[in-house]
Symmetry: C2
Subunit: 230 residues, 2 copies
């Protein structure tokens, strides 16, 4: 008796592959997606491919226009701002709920995760890639700790994919690992103590800080390279 058979469908598998291609920029921003071509590349027919594209659309990684086709979204400064505004609200809520809903064991795991991050940062002098993934882990953990299924879906689903995409395509790794770690530590403590309001407040400030950091660097770096808009 196996639990949760890894049963899946072509559409889902191909969707995942395309998501990856979009996030990494293998398929460029603004690029037109040709159905027969994509189907051929992935070795499936247009039926499941179109279903995959429906999923991509609901994730807002592509936009579709009837009778015309689908294009990969164009990342913009404004949209990233929108995403961070929403994240601040929702992750604040998640932290608040987590402070109340997380079990003792879950809180313990969060602390362990944090300690391993600390060790990592000290060892590697804050090497960026793992730091990023560590950040994702921490937030992921709290979001799940909220026990609000819909909230989990929203944050851990589409929204994080977009955040990853921005980080990838703009090479926006954090340049403040120690500071972020300290903030994580504060949030973790608040959750351990069950201080809901403090956890929420700290999380909102944390994300606000991250936003300021990332926005600032985005402006400096490069004003959005747009893909083939043709």
């Amino acid at each position: 008796m196996r639990m949760q058979e890894e049963i899946t469908t072509l559409a889902k598998k191909v969707c995942d592959r395309i998501v990856k291609d979009i996030i990494t920029g293998t398929i460029a921003q603004g690029q037109k997606l040709n159905e027969p071509e994509l189907a051929r590349i992935h070795g499936i027919s247009r039926g499941p491919l179109r279903e995959a594209m429906s999923r991509l659309e609901s994730m807002r990684l592509i936009t579709r226009t009837p009778n015309i086709g689908a294009r990969v979204v164009n990342l913009s400064y404004e949209e990233l701002l929108e995403i961070y505004q929403i994240r601040e609200s929702l992750e604040g809520l998640a932290a608040k709920l987590a402070a109340k809903a997380m079990t003792v064991e879950e809180k313990g795991n969060l602390r362990l995760l944090l300690n391993s991050h600390r060790k990592h940062i000290l060892d590697t002098q804050g090497q960026s890639y793992f730091q990023q993934e560590g950040d994702v882990d921490f937030h992921y953990c709290i979001v799940h700790g909220s026990k609000n299924k819909r909230l989990i879906d929203m944050l851990a689903g589409d929204l994080y994919q977009l955040v990853r995409m921005y980080r990838y395509q703009f090479s926006l790794s954090s340049n403040r690992p120690q500071q972020a770690l300290k903030e994580h530590d504060q949030i973790c403590s608040a959750i351990e103590e069950g201080d809901e309001d403090l956890a929420e407040w700290l999380m909102k400030r944390h994300i606000n800080n991250a936003r300021n950091n990332i926005m600032q660097r985005m402006q400096i770096q490069s004003p959005i390279q747009d893909g083939n808009t043709q």
Copy 2:
């Protein structure tokens, strides 16, 4: 030169029709959706129908299991609570943003809307149905006033559909129209004055009140009639 041609596709049209059927309960909670049957009913083939179902899935009105099929979601007390937690956060944010981003004209329209609601409530002694739609209008207006496209999509899209579904199926019309109107009035004033934080705070309290009201009545009324789980 017509703007925004009402160009559409079978999948979208049928999707809208099914959404309506699900919200009104014509298709019951938990009911299995049979693809050939649904396709026949709506006079289309399974291709577009499956695309419509993909959309329904992304709205979380149905759940699909590979090789097994799709079922309408089961509404539950817990999920409604989840939705209201999220709404409180996001609509609070929307009100905050709207206080800053709404134009003078938009603020004027919001006030006009409110006045027409007041008149309606006085005239009809708070007749429920229109009051509900009025409530939706008010929130819809503010959400759009936030100018955050993603936030608009989240709130005015899937989430509102679910809220409507709960209201419909549990006959949860507001029994506190005067109170709600007063709260709307306060929110509107805060937005007019550009007081972001107050607007956010008032909106959160407003939704919290609405939640308490609705939850209380849900418990009294009927402990969730479940549809054919078979």
